[in-house]
C-alpha cells in the first residue's frame, strides 16, 4: 500500500489520499488499510488538513472571572500572609472560608457597605476561632517610621 501512496503530506489528508488511490484503481477496495473502515464509521471531529484554521482562530480568549474575585482580591490585600495552600488537603482554603462567610453575610444584610461587611466577616470568623492577622495600617507604619528615625537621630547625636 505504502509503495503507491504519495508521500507529499500536504497534498491532502490521509483519508483523502487513500480514497484517491481507490478511486484511481491503484489500490483495490479489498486491500484498503485496516484503519480505513474505522475512520469511515468514526471520523475525527475536527478537520485535519495540514493548513486548516480551526474555530476561534485569531479571536480573543475569554477571561474567566467570578463575582467573588473582588472579595478575594480585597482579602489578600488586607491579609498578605494567611499561610500556604495545600493542594492535597480536602476542604476550603482560608480565603475561600472568608468568601463563604462573606456571601452568607451579604445575603443576610444586603445593604451594608463593603468595608463594614469585611469587618463583620472578620469578627464572625474570630467568633468561630479563625484569627486573621491584619496588615499594619499605613498611618501606624508612618508613626513607627517617625519614631525609628527620631531614635536613630538621637542615637546618632550621642
Amino acid at each position: 500500500m505504502s509503495s503507491f501512496v504519495t508521500r507529499s503530506e500536504r497534498a491532502g489528508n490521509i483519508f483523502f489520499r487513500i480514497t484517491a488511490l481507490i478511486r484511481s484503481g491503484q489500490l483495490q477496495w479489498a486491500d484498503r488499510p485496516a484503519w480505513y473502515d474505522v475512520y469511515v464509521a468514526h471520523p475525527p471531529l475536527t478537520p485535519h488538513d495540514w493548513n486548516v484554521q480551526l474555530p476561534k482562530y485569531n479571536e480573543p480568549v475569554k477571561k474567566i472571572f467570578y463575582e467573588e474575585d473582588i472579595v478575594r482580591a480585597q482579602f489578600y490585600k488586607n491579609h498578605r500572609n494567611v499561610g500556604h495552600v495545600s493542594m492535597d488537603k480536602e476542604g476550603d482554603s482560608i480565603s475561600q472560608q472568608f468568601i463563604n462567610e462573606y456571601q452568607a453575610l451579604s445575603k443576610e444584610e444586603p445593604n451594608l457597605p463593603m468595608e463594614e461587611m469585611f469587618a463583620k466577616t472578620e469578627k464572625r470568623l474570630e467568633d468561630v476561632g479563625l484569627y486573621l492577622r491584619r496588615q499594619p495600617k499605613k498611618e501606624s507604619t508612618e508613626e513607627t517610621k517617625k519614631a525609628s528615625t527620631e531614635e536613630s537621630n538621637t542615637s546618632g547625636n550621642q
Binding site: 500500500m1 505504502s2 501512496v5 508521500r7 507529499s8 503530506e9 489528508n13 490521509i14 483519508f15 483523502f16 489520499r17 487513500i18 480514497t19 484517491a20 481507490i22 478511486r23 483495490q28 477496495w29 479489498a30 488499510p33 485496516a34 484503519w35 480505513y36 473502515d37 474505522v38 475512520y39 469511515v40 464509521a41 468514526h42 471520523p43 475525527p44 471531529l45 475536527t46 485535519h48 495540514w50 493548513n51 486548516v52 484554521q53 480551526l54 474555530p55 476561534k56 482562530y57 485569531n58 479571536e59 480568549v61 475569554k62 477571561k63 474567566i64
Partner: protein
C-alpha cells in the same frame, strides 16, 4: 419489520391520507436493511473523500454499533478535573489552532473546556479500540522524561508498542535502510505529547502523515495540531494527567483485544 407488515402499513397510511409514504423514506428503510455488496462506485468514493460517512454502508456492520466497547461511560468530567486535564500552558504560548478547545483564561493560564475534551477523547478511544479489534498495531509515542517508563510499561502490558526515546529521522520513511529489513508499520500512532523537549513538533508526526498512518494526538495549549488526525485537547505535562490518559488507552486496547479474541 417484514414485507407484509410494511405493505399493510403503507396501505393504512395511504387510506388515512395523513402522510404519503414517500420514496425517500422507503429508500432509507431499504438501505438500513440491505447493505450494498462489493466496492463503492467511483461517484460514491468521490463524495466519500469529502464526507467519509457516505461510505458507511460499505464497511463492516459492527462498526455501526454506537459505543461497542462501552468506553463512553468511562470518561467523565469529574475524573478529568481530578486528573488536572484542564490545565493548559501560559496564555502567551497559546497556539491559534488550539483556541477552539479552550474554556477561557484564568489569571494568565489557559483552561480547557472539559466537555469538548470529553467528546474528543471518547472518539479517539473508540478509534483505538476498533483498530485493535481488527488486529491493528498501536504505537505509543512520548517525549516526556517523567512518564516515558509508564508509557513503555503500559504498552507492554497490552501487547502493543512504544517509542519514547530519541526519534531517528526516517524511522518510518526510510525503514529498510535503518532496520535492514521490511518491517510492518503501526496502524495507529498515539502521541501522548506532541511536542519535543525543544517545543517543536515531534518529527514522527510528519512521517506518519507521509506514510498515511492515522495519529491520535494529546494536544496541549501550546501544541500545533496540524497533521494529527484525532485530537484530544488536554494537559500533557502533569504525571496525573498522563496516568489518567494511559489508563483509558489501556482499557481501550484491552477491550478491543478481548473483542477480537471472542470473534476468532
Amino acid at each position: 419489520m417484514n414485507s407484509a407488515a410494511l405493505r399493510s402499513l403503507i396501505r393504512r397510511v395511504g387510506a388515512s391520507g395523513a402522510r404519503p409514504f414517500s420514496a425517500k423514506t422507503a429508500a432509507a428503510d431499504a438501505s438500513a436493511t440491505t447493505r450494498p455488496r462489493g466496492a463503492p462506485s467511483a461517484d460514491t468514493l468521490q463524495k466519500g473523500s469529502v464526507q467519509p460517512t457516505v461510505l458507511r454502508p460499505y464497511v463492516a456492520p459492527e462498526l455501526e454499533t454506537e459505543d461497542l466497547f462501552g468506553l463512553h461511560s468511562l470518561v467523565n468530567v469529574d475524573e478529568m478535573f481530578e486528573a488536572r486535564l484542564h490545565y493548559g500552558h501560559k496564555i502567551g504560548t497559546l497556539h491559534e489552532n488550539m483556541k477552539w478547545a479552550l474554556y477561557g483564561e484564568r489569571l494568565g493560564v489557559c483552561i480547557f473546556d472539559l466537555e469538548i475534551t470529553r467528546k474528543h477523547l471518547i472518539r479517539a478511544l473508540d478509534f483505538v479500540a476498533h483498530v485493535v479489534s481488527r488486529g491493528g498495531i498501536i504505537l505509543f509515542i512520548s517525549t516526556h522524561r517523567d512518564t516515558m517508563l509508564d508509557v513503555e510499561k503500559m504498552a507492554e502490558e497490552v501487547g502493543q508498542y512504544a517509542h519514547v526515546r530519541f526519534w531517528q529521522e526516517g524511522t518510518l520513511t526510510n525503514m529498510k535502510q535503518l532496520l535492514g529489513a521490511s518491517v510492518r508499520m503501526p496502524d495507529t500512532m498515539v502521541f501522548l505529547s506532541s511536542l519535543t523537549s525543544m517545543s517543536e513538533r515531534h518529527p514522527a508526526i510528519i512521517e506518519a502523515a507521509k506514510m498515511t498512518i492515522p495519529t491520535v494526538g494529546i494536544v496541549d495549549s501550546n501544541s500545533d495540531p496540524s497533521y494529527l488526525t484525532y485530537l484530544v485537547p488536554s494537559n500533557d505535562d502533569s504525571p496525573q494527567a498522563v496516568a489518567y490518559l494511559l489508563r483509558l488507552f489501556k482499557e481501550a486496547c484491552q477491550r478491543g483485544a478481548a473483542y477480537r479474541a471472542k470473534q476468532l
